[in-house]
Structure formats: C-alpha cells, structure tokens
C-alpha cells in the first residue's frame, strides 16, 4: 500500500521508515524459526550454511539427520512418550476443565473469583517452582519417574487453558437455549450433549489444543520428574543441546515446527467456525 496521496515528504519518509522498522522486527521474529528448516538438510554436521548449500548444490543437502532421527531408538522412544503423555494429559485436562468451566459460568457459583484464581494458578506460578513442589511431593509418594506422575503434573499445567477458553465460549452462550430444551422435555444429559456441547465445542477443542501443546512442549517438570524411561521429545532435545549438538536436533525441530503450523491452522479454522456458529461474523 502506498502512502496516502496528500502526504508530504516528511510523512512519506516516516511512512516508509516505519514500515522498514516493522519489517525488521518481523524478520527478527520469524527468521530463527525458518532458518532451521534448510539447515536440517545440511549434509555436513554443522549448524550453518556451507558453500555448497548456498550454491544450491544438491549434494550439499541430505536427509541423513532425519534418518538418524528415525533410526535412533532414544528419539523414537521419546516421540512415543511425548504422545502418550500429551494425549492422556489432554483428555484428563479437557474433561476436568470443561466441567469446571460449566460450573464456573453458573451465576450462582459461590466464591467464583477465588475458585477461578486457584484453578488457573498452575498457569501463573513459574514452572521451576511448580516443578520443585511436584518433585518433592511426588517423590514422597512414589510418583516420580512414573508415567502417571508426569501425566498428572501435565494435566494440572494444562487445565487452566481449558478452563479459560471454555469459560470464554460460555460468556457468549445463550442460556435460554438450555431452558428451552428443558421445557421441551429433554433431560440434563440430553441437553448437554445435544445443545451445550455442540455450541461450546470450538472452545473445548481449542482448550484441548492448548493443553496438548502445553504438555507436548513442557520440559522443566519432565526434567525433574521423569526417569530415563519417560523421556519426552523436549527432554531429549535438552540433553542433545547440552551434551552433543548434532543437526539431528534441527531435524526434530523442523518436524515440530510443522506440527505447530498444523495446530495453528486448526485453531484458526476453529475460531472462524465458532464465530460463524454464533453469528458474530459472516465469514
């Protein structure tokens, strides 16, 4: 877009100057994430572009780090762990969080603010402190170095997101719909599954996505609670960075970037669908 036609030289300079500044900031935001994609195809074990890569020599590129990733049992085991833990934690967090959000959105809920504060506290307390508390307590009751311990911890960290997103969906929720359903003779269960659930589903799913990514990305708690057996992808990356930096980490990172792009797209679709369903925006 060009500057408006009435702009003088000062305004024009400012107009382009401002856009240039913004461009630099956007570059700062996106470059590190994009740069690892080509680097992960480097045939050499370096973290930088080789002469061959810059000359687009096909021999300078290879899939060897991806092969390394797939053939290394530590990595594949960590992928399996990450999915087991994240899915279990997401299911738990979504069920518990959605129920609580339904309760919280009830106008008659006593001590609403206090309860809300307690429920979202896992999001506010710095991770290192949550990790410290869980580490001391869970090892006291024998839950450290178990899958169950990590799943419970990740569920706790994920529920605030579900509570917040579902509560937000319920703010725009028309309660006369459930009353109408009740008047027409539907029981509470039928009403929930036929009326409430479809309407809050976008909120539930985006909350679940947040819970999933929270668990999938979490490393501090895993660092303290997990034994060798329960290592997740971020935990494996952590020791990879600290001990032996190899471009395999870049291959893993690239795959994770692809996963986040997919999640981002899903969220965006959900948001649009939600707006359409509630008739807020036409498109």
């Amino acid at each position: 877009m060009p500057p408006p036609a009435y702009a003088g030289p000062v305004e024009t300079t400012w107009y382009y100057g401002f856009r240039l500044i913004c461009a630099f900031i956007f570059i700062f935001l996106i470059t590190p994430i994009l740069i690892i994609v080509p680097l992960s195809f480097n045939v050499e074990p370096y973290f930088t572009f080789t002469q061959g890569m810059l000359a687009f020599d096909p021999d300078a590129y290879s899939l060897r780090w991806y092969e390394d990733f797939i053939s290394n049992t530590q990595w594949t085991h960590s992928v399996q762990n990450s999915f087991i833990i994240a899915i279990a934690a997401t299911v738990l967090a979504t069920v518990l969080g959605t129920l609580a959000a339904l309760g919280l959105s009830n106008a008659n809920m006593p001590y609403r603010a206090l309860t809300m504060g307690l429920l979202i506290s896992p999001m506010i307390v710095p991770l290192i402190i949550s990790a410290a508390g869980m580490y001391f307590f869970y090892s006291n009751i024998g839950l450290d170095q178990t899958y169950l311990g990590i799943i419970l911890a990740h569920t706790a960290l994920g529920t605030p997101f579900v509570v917040i997103t579902v509560t937000a969906t319920l703010v725009g929720f028309d309660h006369s719909l459930t009353r109408a359903s009740a008047n027409l003779g539907a029981g509470p269960t039928t009403t929930f599954f036929k009326i409430t659930m479809p309407l809050i589903l976008p909120g539930v799913i985006s909350g679940a996505l947040f819970a999933f990514i929270t668990s999938f990305d979490e490393v501090v708690v895993v660092l303290f609670l997990a034994g060798f057996e329960q290592r997740t992808i971020p935990r494996q990356m952590w020791s990879g960075i600290r001990e032996q930096i190899s471009p395999t980490i870049l291959a893993v990172a690239t795959i994770l970037v692809m996963i986040s792009i997919a999640l981002l797209a899903t969220l965006e679709l959900l948001r649009r669908r939600g707006e359409r369903m509630r008739g807020i925006s036409p498109g």
Binding site: I84, A88, T90, S139, L148, G227, Q244, I245
Partner: protein, 368 residues
Amino acid sequence: MKKILKTTLGSAAIAIASLAISGIATSAAQAGELNVVSWGGAYTASQMKAYHKPYTSKTGTKINSIDYSGGLAEMRAQTEANNVTWDVVDVVISDAITGCDEGMFRPIDIDKEMAKAPDGTPASKDFLDGTLQSECFVPLIIYSTVFAYRSDAWSGKKPTSINDVFDLKKFPGKRALQKSPVNNLEWALLADGVPLAKIYDVLDTDEGKDRAFAKLDTIKENVIWWTEGAIPPQLLADKEAVFGTGYNGRWFSAIAEEKQPFSMLWSGQVLDIDGYVVSAKSKNLDEAMKFLKFATDTQRLADQAKYISYGPARKSSGPMVSKHAELGIDMAPHMPTAYADQGFLTNFKWWADNADEMKERFAAWLLQ
C-alpha cells in the same frame, strides 16, 4: 467434528492402555531380573559387554540397564518414598560415602562377600590402596580428570605442567574448565607452588582458599566453563579452546578414535574412583549381591578395560589389561593408573565437608 472427537477418544484409549503396560515395565525389577544403573554412553556399553552379558548367559538373570546423569537425587527420592527400583548403581566415590552415611546403600563386607584374586589374595588387599573408602562401595575403575591441549596450538612449545596452564604469556588461548570448584582449586594451588602432598592442608585454611581463588583470578578472563563431559573435546576440536580439562576416557576416544590433534598433560591429573553400590532397600538384594560379586572379580574388571580407557580397580586385573577390542591399540599406556605418580587422589572427606560452602563461594566468584 464427531469424527475428530472419536479419533481423539480412540487414541486416548490406546494411550491409556499402553500406559498401563509401560507402568508395569518401569516398576521394580521382577524376580530373576535386576535394574543396574550407570552413566550411559560408551561407559555403560563397556559394562554391558564386560559384566551384563556374561552374567546373563551364566545365570539367566535378565539385566535392565538404566542410564542416569549421576548424583544422589533419584536415589534419595526413591529411598524417602520407600519405593526403591534401582538395585545396583554405578556412583563416584564421594556420592557413595554420602549415601552410605545416610543409610541409602547396603554395607558390604568386602572380604566375605566379594571375590578373591585368582592367587587367593583377599579382596580387601587386592583393590588398589585408597580405593576402599566407604563400607558400601565396591570400586570398579580409576579414572582421572586431566588436562589435554591442542598439539598444534603453539609451534615448537609444549606444556609440561599445570604451571603452563596458568601461564597466559607462554601459552595463550582459552582454557576449558569445569564449572565447579572441585579440582580447579587444587590445580590453582599446585600452580601457585604448593607441593602435591600439601594441597588439602593449605586448602583447609582461609588463606589457602583465598590464595586458590586469587590464582584462578589470573586466568578467569580466558576460561570457558563447561558442565557436561562431552563438551571439552568438542571445544578443543572446534578450536574454541587450546587447553581443556576432561575425563581421560573422553580424551582417549577423541585422540585414538577420532584422530584429533590433542595431547595429554598427565601431570597434575586428579584421580577419582568409580564403583558399584547396592540400594539398602533393594527388592532383589540377594540377586544384586550375586551380580556385584561377579562383576567386580578380576577377570570382569580386566575385560572392561578392553572397551574403555579407565584403569581397573584391582591390582590383579592390571597385568591382564590388553589391547582395545576394536582398535587393537595397547591400552596400558592410556590408563590413568600408569601415571598415578604425577597426579593425586581427590580428598573426598574434605570435599564432603566443604563442597556446600566452596560451591557457593565459587558461584559468587563467577558472578563478580
């Protein structure tokens, strides 16, 4: 949307099912199995070849090898929770002493419960002098933390002692040191003219501590601090540093296997001992003791030295050390024990008392 929900629930069911299965797999070792914990990497690999495999083929007992990164954190947590899943653990001697004093490990009667040397020498006489420092600990190897340098860093000149590490004029360049006061304080005093035998006497005084930190001050600007054992060989290989401290086994593989242009500076090496302990509350105590007796006999300790350049802790194993199993190199000259007279043994008792204070002071010194 329903479909998404179904798939999610489906995968959740799978996740929970596999959880139940893996939950069983990570609990305490079953009867006829043992959980043996060690440092991972090449070191664990050498133990699996030398101890685990022969033991399993002899007794049929399955051994689950578990990796950890050292320290007593996990074992203390397991003991406090009364949920001990680790049976035999490979620890450094300082951790063995602390854990033994706090009742985490089982005391071992070394002569009654461990194997004699082939010539009938009782075990307590067969282990190298000074290695039996805790009643819960059976030594396996002697390793050392030692300096190495890039052979091509200074044309014509070669460092010969710790003094040269602290001599920035003669040997310029970065030094890669461990981010810990342990060993660094000793080296600083050594370079400041304190004789080997007097180091800990001097370090025990306030003036001695000040003196050590003052000496470290002289090279502080030229130090890269490392925290993981894999890092110093990388730093030297990348020419980020010219001197580095590291575990002798790591230097060995960099020099012998990766053909890096490094040389060892054995002078001033700090010897340390690594070995097995058995959890006091192990659920497989008898099996664990049987494994311990087998793994620490003369033949097994000598076998391990075929795969890694750490010196066996038994005198009777020494003459049996032969060539590297894959590289065919004579291993004897790569053993820290071959240069024992040029270095010294860490004073574990002194560090047990002073580590808390010295680590705080070291951290404060780094921040200055």
